[in-house]
Amino acid sequence: MDRLVVISGIGCTGRASGYFAADSYHTTHGRAIAFASGVKVANPDLKPVVISGDGDLFAIGGNHFIHAARRNVDMLVLCVNNFNYGMTGGQMGPTTPDSAITVTSPDGNIEHPFNLVSVAAASGAVFVARWTALHARRLTKSIEKALQKKGFKFIEVISPCPTLYDRYNRYGSGLDVMKKYREISVIRNFTDPMKAEIDYRTRIVCGEFVDTEKPEFTDLLAQQSDRLQKR
């Protein structure tokens, strides 16, 4: 527990870091991963866990995400994806599905959303999984598994936003949305993340899609530094 550092950005999920009886830090919007990189590189014994939302990690923080994944910096990134900016009142974001109604896409979203697991896999994450908030136990197992692995790990958690996104789009209460998850989600481990469908209305493909090994950044830094210090 002393080695755990929980780091979050801004938003509904950004508050998560304050709920832990562990070392924790609440950064500015989008910067949790950059902060975690600093923590990990400065003290490789620490285990950073980033918990944040889809807007925080993939819009304002998108650049940090792809580069930390590319470097394979050891950290677990948990993204709670509720398809909109909830804290600020339900605006569209990088994951808002096509034609969805939000306060800043009142006539239907015309942007193409990110498929987060595909972005993570393409950027070089060594572990990529997706679950919904209903898959609490499978999600817990994936988190346990990811924490045992070294490298950049990514888990997407599809989550209801009953007060804003789900209401604007008439998906009903949080409970209705959770029931919908039960109805439409399928578990397909090791599906190609590019093909891991995510459609709020028809099909959500869940599972662990990537589980691979790759040299980790701080290990490589240490190896190089050790070699240079012997000279």
Partner: protein
């Protein structure tokens, strides 16, 4: 294994002196992004840090660089970044976070001409106000301005010491002249370099309040991984570190963040006087421009003109008392700076219309020559 402190004399560049100063101060983490004219600092750190057991990481942008530095500092390692004005523009977001979470860290800004991309390879001092007011909200910061390669080394160490002492980001505000200049640097023996480290908590974790200040208004700082299990946030917070959105919390926090610098200003501010005792004309100049100014003052003195030079070494906090003292006999105060008028406002606030304050601005990317400067001074006081 290479040594962290390269004791001895060498002929070197300002940027490299800043990097060596950082290493001598105990810096073992650097995160940065290439930018002219500060890149040499990153290059030096990329070469030196892994050889002495430190860590260099090149980030994806300046926002990430500055944020990684805050993370590294919270992980217990003295950390820094180096950039130029456009990079500071991006870092300002995180500078605010660092101020709010009271993070010791050093930023070297080797100033170039702006606005925007401006003049990347030319000298400028136009980020003086950016250093103070760059991020939003009320806060105080520390900024030191070196005037020589030696000072690049010395002031980088002092920036680390002050930053650790007061848990606030500290700038080394160099201009391109000093950053790229090569001259003699003397690095003293390691045991002669004064090093200040942040205050650590003396209470057990269950009694630790991460933002409870001591008498000097600075709270002791725990490090991640030590078992203190504390929380820090950019939101307004109480002594426990948890967000509190009321009047009382803001009132307890923001004035303290400012006052820990304002009320300790006498321990931070520094300035240098040359021939100011009987000076009727007080020339104020800093950084690269102060070198020209010094020559101009010496030449003018040889011609019987009672002129002196006041060189602020800390610009933030501004050395008000030292300036008042230096200007005691002055009939004219002349501020020469490589911008269109920035620090002159601060000088005017101190002099308060008691005597005329003149500005000699310069925005073309090079400093004045001593003759040009003297000509400009004469034009203004006659």
């Amino acid at each position: 294994m290479q040594k962290a402190v390269l004791t001895g004399e060498r002929f070197t560049q300002g940027d490299i002196a800043a990097a060596e100063g950082a290493l001598a101060a105990g810096c073992r983490f650097f995160a940065g992004y290439p930018i002219t004219p500060a890149t040499e600092i990153a290059e030096r750190m990329a070469y030196r840090l892994p050889r002495i057991g430190g860590r260099y990481i090149q980030m994806e942008d300046e926002i990430a660089s500055c944020t990684a530095v805050v993370g590294a500092s919270y992980a217990g390692v003295k950390s820094m970044t180096a950039t130029s004005g456009p990079g500071v523009s991006l870092m300002n977001e995180t500078i605010g976070l660092a101020v709010m979470t009271e993070t010791p860290m050093v930023l070297v800004n080797v100033m170039r001409g702006g606005p925007s991309t401006g003049q990347p390879t030319e000298a400028s001092q136009s980020d003086i106000m950016q250093a103070k007011w760059g991020s939003h909200g009320d806060y105080e910061i520390i900024a030191l301005i070196p005037s020589s390669v030696q000072e690049m080394f010395d002031l980088t160490i002092q920036a680390f010491n002050l930053s650790e002492r007061f848990r606030v980001p500290a700038f080394v505000l160099a201009d391109e002249i000093i950053g790229h200049m090569r001259e003699r640097l003397v690095i003293p023996p390691e045991d002669e370099i004064e090093i200040v480290n942040r205050k650590k908590p003396t209470v057990p974790p269950e009694e630790y309040l991460p933002f409870k200040a001591e008498e000097d208004l600075v709270p002791p700082m725990a490090t991640f991984g030590e078992g203190y299990h504390f929380y820090a946030t950019g939101l307004t917070h109480d002594e426990r570190g948890y967000p509190v959105m009321d009047e009382e919390a803001q009132l307890a926090l923001v004035p303290r963040l400012c006052d820990k610098i304002r009320k300790n200003a006498d321990k931070i501010t520094r300035a240098e006087n040359t021939e100011t005792e009987d000076a009727e004309i007080l020339l104020v100049a800093y950084g690269g421009e102060a070198r020209t100014a010094l020559r101009a003052v010496k030449d003018a003195r040889a011609n019987g003109i009672k002129i002196g030079l006041f060189r602020p070494i800390s610009v933030w906090p501004f050395p008000k008392e030292q300036l008042k003292e230096a200007a005691a006999n002055a009939q004219h105060v002349v501020v020469a700076e490589l911008n269109y008028g920035q620090l002159v406002g601060e000088v005017e606030r101190v002099i308060r219309n008691e005597v005329p304050v003149h500005l000699i601005p310069r925005v073309c990317g090079t400093p004045h020559t001593p003759d040009e400067l003297m000509k400009e001074i004469r034009r203004r006081i006659n």
